[in-house]
Symmetry: C2
Subunit: 120 residues, 2 copies
DNA sequence: GGTATATGTAGATTTCCGTCTACATGTTGA
DNA sequence: TCAACATGTAGACGGAAATCTACATATACC
């Protein structure tokens, strides 16, 4: 337990659990470390944070149905300012969920190829 | 466009886009409605919101590796108070991502069977 | 029954993040 | 070149959510 920051009360609690139920918590620090140190943990978290907004999930669901959307179409769909659209799409792009392509004045967005998160 | 709340400037913008690039936006309201009215939209959003927290993602990643975790083990792993653990696990349970089982004084959590979201 | 213990709930506080306005940058056409 | 237009960036603001302390409820044991 040296790797986990727990007080004495919690330590006693874990020991009682072990005696009561026979659950061995010696692997707990390793379990935590395995889960958290995975290089994909940060990437998973970033992707989930990006998708966990109603407006952004709506855009992704629409992109799943339509090849591309222009920024102004996204704006019309979401009912927010262009600045907010830009902010949201920047978040999705940074998380690797969408890709953008500029054609003259117009910016088009599409789903990234490697999006493995289920969409409604 | 009658179903979307857009001002005249945005309407002109969409028309210019149509003339410039030949993108037909007549299907946009339907696209929005299809995406948003899906009964799974709300469920997807709730699940993504539940998973998009670092502490909660860590718990799920740990549960993916270990059959069950006791509340006190979760507390030791996260380094927060028991009340915060209870709050977080309540969120995961409400989203259908974990199930809980009480054995005497102890509460054990495990991944729900139908979790289809990739975990690190 | 009373006490100790584990965890759920409520409310206050702190932190995080969506949204806007204003400004900045890039593209187009006269 | 300049003006119009599309969209990216910065900072302020307000609401949502994580976190804590305190209280409440349930279980176990003497």
């Amino acid at each position: 337990m040296a790797d986990l920051d727990i007080d004495q009360a919690l330590e006693r609690r874990l020991e009682t659990l072990d005696e009561d139920v026979g659950t061995c918590c010696e692997d707990l620090p390793r379990l935590v470390e395995d889960a958290r140190s995975s290089s994909s943990f940060t990437e998973h978290l970033e992707r989930y944070r990006a998708i966990a907004d109603e407006k952004r999930l709506l855009v992704l669901a629409m992109l799943a149905r339509s090849k591309t959307l222009c920024a102004c179409e996204v704006q019309a769909a979401l009912g927010v300012t262009h600045a907010t659209v830009s902010h949201h799409m920047g978040t999705l792009r940074a998380a690797g969920l969408v890709e953008s392509e500029k054609r003259g004045k117009w910016v088009f967005y599409r789903l990234s190829d490697d999006v493995n998160l289920p969409l409604p």
